[in-house]
């Protein structure tokens, strides 16, 4: 299998006031070009920490991360990020927000007209051509998130990183955006790594679901390969036995093998120490 993005023996240790805290322990993961991978696990640090490492926003304590045969040494536009809270600049219009990214990546080699064309095309891709002159405060949460996706896709990244991109949206808007994302990813053949805690979202969108064990020292518990031919039809999918089977598998992992640490489960064994570590972890994040 061709490794486009590779995470090799990566551990992440944070120095907290109470001493070192191991967030990730010995993570190994290889992602193919054009693959859609979801990272799922209970709330804590593991998922987002791993995504930030791929983004280059943090460096691993040990191990190495590789993207397209080069070591990831810092953040860069080849790994565009869609943030949970959209992170649009409020003093820029939707167009200007996307243009900022486009100008950064293509500004040196292309004319202003070409840059504007790319920006318009990206907004078109997320069906927001009509809102390009609007400011973030003037549009809905779902639209803002779509602008965030447009900004990430406009620069044609090698990998699209998404940190719970639809977590803050209502269920209907989320479904609508998931469908849009499926369509866009199919058209652009993007490689995507998405952090989520929504089982349905993970099964619906992913080629593989990477399930992380509970922290501290979270590691990959299991990887589920998804093979669903007709993803577009959400209604038909809801009754598809394979869909239900995948869903059950992820649920079993999350709720039986590694149940929510905040609701008992392993917590009962480890006691208060784990909750403390969870808090540390949240503080670090």
């Amino acid at each position: 299998m061709e490794k486009y993005v590779a995470v090799e023996s990566v551990s992440q240790v944070f120095n907290t006031a109470r001493g070192p805290f191991t967030a990730l322990d010995n993570i190994n993961l290889a992602i193919r070009k054009g693959e859609f991978v979801s990272l799922i696990g209970h709330s804590g640090c593991g998922k987002s920490t791993l995504l930030n490492l791929i983004a280059g926003l943090a460096s691993p304590s040990t191990g190495v991360l590789i993207c397209d045969q080069r070591e990831i040494a810092g953040p860069g536009p080849d790994r565009a990020m869609v943030f949970q809270n959209h992170s649009l600049l409020p003093w820029f219009t939707c167009f200007q927000n996307v243009y900022l990214a486009v100008e950064r990546v293509y500004g040196a080699n292309e004319s202003r007209a070409q840059l504007r064309e790319r920006t318009a095309a990206a907004l078109e891709l997320v069906d927001l051509a009509h809102a390009s002159g609007k400011y973030p405060r003037e549009i809905s949460g779902g639209m803002k998130q779509r602008v965030g996706i447009a900004r990430a896709l406009a620069i044609e990244p090698k990998v699209l990183l998404m940190d719970e991109p639809f977590g803050a949206l209502d269920a209907l808007t989320r479904a609508h955006l998931q469908d849009a994302l499926l369509r866009i990813v199919k058209r652009t053949q993007s490689t995507v790594v998405m952090v989520t805690h929504d089982v349905d979202e993970a099964v619906l969108l992913s080629d593989r679901i990477v399930m992380l064990t509970n922290g501290p020292a979270a590691t990959i518990g299991d990887i589920l390969r998804i093979s669903l031919p007709a993803r577009r039809d959400r209604v038909a999918l809801a009754a598809d036995p394979r869909y239900l089977q995948y869903r059950a598998a992820v649920m079993a992992f999350l709720h039986q093998r590694y149940s929510n640490p905040e609701q008992g489960g392993r917590l009962a064994l480890v006691g208060a120490e784990q909750t403390k570590s969870e808090q540390d972890c949240a503080n670090v994040a």
Partner: protein, 273 residues
């Protein structure tokens, strides 16, 4: 029928706006009238204090010709106010030129922030008038010394607010800059400046307020022209009516300056969603 309903709906509405206008203008008016009544009562008890009516008459005479010139130490009230405003403008402008960029650097670079912190903490509580003798020594003249005092008092709020604004730029915005790998210049123009602008304008508002407080005191010491000098001069002439008029003028000008800057701040504040 149609017209009848219309009048029926309009009437309560006009009544509503009338009541609203009374609420908006009526209460402040009652407040001001109360002050005049108290003043009248005090003037009746203490012989040295002029009555509001006498003061009003003196003000009318004074404002009949606000821009006369009878030699360097006797100019109209208009000239005096303009002289004070000019000093505030120059001192404040220079402070903005130095203070705002300094605030950006202090807010952006942690080592500079740590170096500047004790200096600012030490110098900020010092009354600007304490700097006046140094100004006189440095510039050997009253006019630049007064401007110097304004410069000193205006610069702290601008440095502090700008630096604070830079330090408070939401990390989400800076993460965009990091993920896109934006150049430092682009970070400044696209993220820092728009994000910090509301803080800078708050600093400007505070500075102007302090500057206007300080100029009156500074002019009492340096003499020559200006509303502060005029006030002190009228004290020497024992013209208490003019002193009260000066107080009202100083208050009015300060209020207008603040209102103007508030309008400016509203114009540039982006609405957070």
């Amino acid at each position: 029928m149609n017209t009848a309903t219309r009048t029926a709906t309009i009437n309560p509405m006009t009544a509503g706006t009338l009541a609203a206008q009374l609420g908006r203008l009526g209460y402040p008016l009652i407040g001001l009238i109360s002050v005049v009544i108290i003043w009248e009562a005090i003037a009746g008890k203490i012989p040295g204090i002029p009555t509001p009516y006498d003061t009003l008459l003196a003000a009318i005479v004074l404002f009949e010709d606000p821009f006369y010139r009878n030699g360097p130490n006797d100019v109209g009230i208009g000239w005096n106010v303009l002289a004070s405003l000019w000093r505030v403008g120059v001192g404040f402008g220079l402070a903005a030129l130095v203070g705002i960029p300094a605030g950006f650097v202090i807010g952006r670079y942690a080592p500079v922030r740590k170096m500047a912190a004790p200096v600012i903490s030490l110098l900020r509580p010092v009354s600007p008038l304490a700097w006046l003798p140094l100004g006189l020594l440095l510039f050997k003249a009253a006019e630049p010394a007064a401007i110097w005092a304004i410069f000193i008092c205006s610069i702290w709020p601008m440095i502090i607010n700008t630096a604070d604004g830079v330090a408070r730029v939401p990390s989400d915005y800076l993460n965009i800059a990091r993920v896109l790998n934006l150049s430092e210049r682009k970070v400044l123009t696209s993220i820092l400046v728009p994000s910090v602008l509301p803080y800078v304008l708050t600093g400007v508002r505070l500075s102007i307020g302090t500057a206007w407080l300080v100029i009156v005191a500074a002019e009492m010491l340096t003499g020559g022209t200006g509303i502060g000098f005029w006030l002190w001069d009228e004290w020497n002439n024992l013209n208490v009516q003019h002193i009260i008029i000066a107080i009202v003028i100083i208050g009015l000008v300060g209020m207008l300056l603040d209102a103007a800057l508030l309008a400016l701040a509203r114009r540039f504040a982006f609405a957070e969603e």
